[in-house]
């Protein structure tokens, strides 16, 4: 009897301890050991519950690694950028999504959550540091952005939009919301100064400045019509896919604050200290330069709630976003830009 009891206890213990040990051992020890690539487990939790664990990983250029993402609390979305085009989609608690990849060059990438999982969701980011094994000590070149460098050299303050009482928002008056479509029909009848035909010039000047030049060259034309021509010149010539991609990025990352139609009325707007900029206001957006909007998206606000997206999006994606923002006030291409 004694022996049988002991045997029974041993069996129960084997099941209670051995089974989980086997399952976990397989997942965390056997499988990584058998796998030809390095496995890195990253557990995701909402930022207030700790965010990504770990939130920084190191790999070598040319090394193949498998990243395994799991969630410990709520549904998260996993993407890695910039420019990798990796979106693993949603990771529910208890689910594991993995990706095997090889980074070709030394540099820094960001894995981030792209599902609005908590009020602080946008802080949920982690770093992949890719080192060059031939040159291990070298720090990855910090992302240089010629556009932002040029703005700094020019002495442009990209935070001049941040409203204070002694510094009201710039705005010009426009009689109506400009229209790309109307502008396109008019443009052949209008004298367009050479500067305005130059894309680089347009990026570093505001539509309002361009409108003044256009008015000077076309004194017989109405101001509202000329504003339409400016809207046409500023519409970025994007492909339908680029616009859809920009819309997806906007809806996932920006609409919570800036609102679906750029009215600055997203549900999170009520909890930001400064008001999210209203992109639907044509008179305001006409005073903004494309490169300044671009720089704000990439660098983020200075002590405001505007997050930085430079480590998530490519430069082209950012320009497409700028254009998409303009579509809310009839000036860029997008679902709303076409409607006006």
């Amino acid at each position: 009897m004694e022996r049988r009891e002991r045997f029974a206890i041993a069996v129960v213990l084997l099941i209670l301890i051995g089974l989980p040990a086997a399952a976990l051992g397989y997942q965390y020890w056997l499988r990584p050991a058998l796998s030809s690539t390095r496995m890195i487990d990253i557990r995701a939790a909402a930022p207030e519950a700790g965010g990504f664990q770990p939130d920084a990983i190191q790999v070598n250029a040319g090394e193949t690694v498998t990243l395994r993402f799991s969630s410990t609390d709520v549904t998260q979305g996993i993407a890695i950028g910039p420019g990798l085009g990796i979106d693993l989609g949603h990771v529910d608690p208890g689910q594991v999504k993995e990706i095997t990849l090889t980074f070709d060059h030394a540099g820094t990438y960001t894995f981030y959550c792209n599902s609005w999982c908590s009020p602080d969701h946008w802080r949920m980011r982690g770093i992949v540091q890719v080192d060059d094994p031939a040159n291990p000590g070298a720090l990855p070149t910090s992302q240089r952005d010629p556009v932002i460098e040029a703005l700094i050299a020019e002495g442009v303050d990209i935070d001049d939009n941040v409203h204070t009482d002694d510094h009201p928002l710039p705005v010009i008056s426009l009689d109506r919301v400009p229209s790309v479509a109307r502008g396109e029909m008019l443009t052949s009848t209008v004298n367009v100064p050479a500067d305005l035909q130059n894309a680089a010039w347009r990026r570093s000047h505001s539509p309002a400045q361009a409108l003044d030049l256009l008015i000077a060259d076309n004194p017989s034309m109405g101001r509202a019509e000329l504003a339409d021509v400016i809207a046409y010149l500023w519409s970025g010539g994007l492909s339908a896919e680029q616009i859809t991609a920009a819309q997806t990025l906007y809806n996932k990352n920006c609409a919570a604050c800036h609102g679906e139609t750029g009215a600055g009325d997203g549900p999170v707007a009520s909890s930001t200290e400064n008001n999210p900029v209203i992109f639907a206001d044509a008179g305001y957006m006409f005073t903004r330069r494309d490169d300044v909007l671009y720089a704000k998206i990439r660098r983020g606000g200075m002590g405001t709630d505007m997050p930085n997206f430079g480590t998530l999006f490519t430069q082209d994606e950012t320009w497409a976003l700028v254009n998409y923002l303009r579509s809310f006030s009839g000036t860029g291409q997008g679902p709303l830009g076409d409607a006006h």
Partner: protein
């Protein structure tokens, strides 16, 4: 006109019966043809607002689901409709409420600790038959009372001879 006299005691129940039939067959003036119902559903941790929606069978229902804080989902039992809502980007779900009954709608994105309790209820009522049936029962009850009362009178009349004299 003769039958009217002979069956005098049956007149009222007969009338009631005919009315009831009409009641069941002809449509209600109030129970108009199916309409389109636009309903805004606000989803926030951890409830839908409104938590209960009532529509009539056949109505075209347009739910506009808006997430007020974090990503939420919307799943409608019975109809198998599903969507995912990012805060700031409302989603529309359109369908014809052709099945009657109570259907739960629940959050389909794990949005936090009390997520399993994020449930609302859609009631698709086939109102008209219900009220008609109620009316029918009430009428039947009244008819029964009248019948009993009348037959009681017949009995009395037979006894005191009045029934005899009124018949030609």
């Amino acid at each position: 006109m003769r039958w009217l006299h002979t069956a005098r005691i049956w007149r009222l129940p007969l009338l009631i019966g005919l009315l009831t039939l009409a009641w069941l067959v002809f449509p209600f003036p109030g129970a108009k043809a199916a309409t389109t119902r636009h309903i805004t559903l606000d989803a926030s941790q951890f409830a839908f607002s409104p938590g209960r929606v009532h529509v009539n069978q056949g109505d075209r229902v347009v739910f506009t689901v808006a997430a007020q804080d974090v990503v939420h989902g919307f799943y409608l039992d019975g109809y198998g409709l599903k969507t995912r809502v990012e805060p700031g980007v409302s989603q529309q779900i359109e369908f014809v409420a052709d099945k009657t009954g109570k259907f739960r709608y629940r959050c389909s994105v794990n949005c936090g600790s009390l997520h399993p309790f994020m449930i609302g209820e859609l009631v698709v009522g086939s109102n008209t038959p219900f009220w008609r049936a109620t009316g029918l029962i009430v009428l039947a009850a009244i008819g029964m009372l009248v019948y009993l009362w009348q037959s009681g009178r017949v009995q009395e009349m037979k006894q005191d001879g009045t029934l005899q004299s009124s018949t030609p």
